[in-house]
Symmetry: D2
Subunit: 102 residues, 4 copies
């Protein structure tokens, strides 16, 4: 089952600056061979369920290894069985509406 995920991992107990933890997760996700897109409040990920969720677990493990005692993560995850849809498709379908209405 394919899944599109929006991942926002927040390390707690490590101060206000969390960019190094987010960058570490970025590397974990890339090492796992996943298609990812960073945005201002998370990272979009596309792939097979087990691969994506396995990578999210590795992100938690990596961030704990880096010294974060606690992590709270917010994930949105979408699956559909009516048709294939990529992350790019989702953005394009909205953009087509916007262009069509212009």
């Amino acid at each position: 089952m394919k899944v599109i995920v929006d991942l926002c991992l927040v390390p707690m107990g490590v101060g206000v600056s969390v960019s190094k933890y987010v960058a570490a997760c970025h590397e974990v996700l890339q090492t796992e061979g996943l298609e990812i897109t960073l945005h201002a409040y998370g990272t979009n990920i596309e792939g097979e369920w087990e691969q994506v969720m396995g990578a999210v677990k590795k992100c938690h493990e990596r961030v704990h290894d880096m010294g974060a005692p606690r992590i709270t993560t917010t994930i949105k995850m979408g699956t559909r069985i009516d048709r294939n849809q990529s992350m790019a498709d989702k953005v394009e379908s909205v953009q087509a509406r916007l262009d069509g209405e212009a």
Copy 2:
């Protein structure tokens, strides 16, 4: 790695009433032997990472099997390595603050 999760699964393309899908997920989670608590905007789940996330995948599969062509799920997931903390502990620690300040 133990995880506390807040799961909110939303079937799309099946009308406005989604209680039967939420109830089906409740049964899936219970069949998996997970500790769960239903609230007005989701379900709290406590357990080992693989078990919990495997159960979440089974929820998606069940809801698709019931006819929902598309699902969007929001999950919050917390892990910590400094100490053990159950769902009940989390509520109690806040309640103790509230009682202490009363």
Copy 3:
């Protein structure tokens, strides 16, 4: 417009224990006269949109005043125009399904 909200406010840069901040938000929400229910990964709130969202802003202000330099909050918010539905209704409609299937 009535809204049902699930609020999860996470102060950053204040260490791993956040129960005193959650308790402070609980008090803010109660002072605002809102119907609330605490659970293990957030707080359910029911009320008019402006009142609820105004109270959420007051929670951010209070937690910053308590010393948190940064806050990240996850909110789920539901509105419907087909019928009235309370937080209790939502739980009961799922519970009725579970009982009916038992």
Copy 4:
């Protein structure tokens, strides 16, 4: 108080395709003069709290007006009082880490 928001609005009871509702929200947010960035699982928004949250309410009103009987929205919202930080700053601080480690 400035806020950075990630908005993901999901109309329920209108079928599986929701791009026209997302496009309508995009227009509402632009009409409100907000800085926004669309991604594959939501829209990042930057602005003053009242302006942003007022615009989110207008999105709900617009989508209900378009015929959606029910809406569930997931929002992440970040505030900080230690320094100013834009959406672009957030992405750049992670990117700088990634480049530095390359």
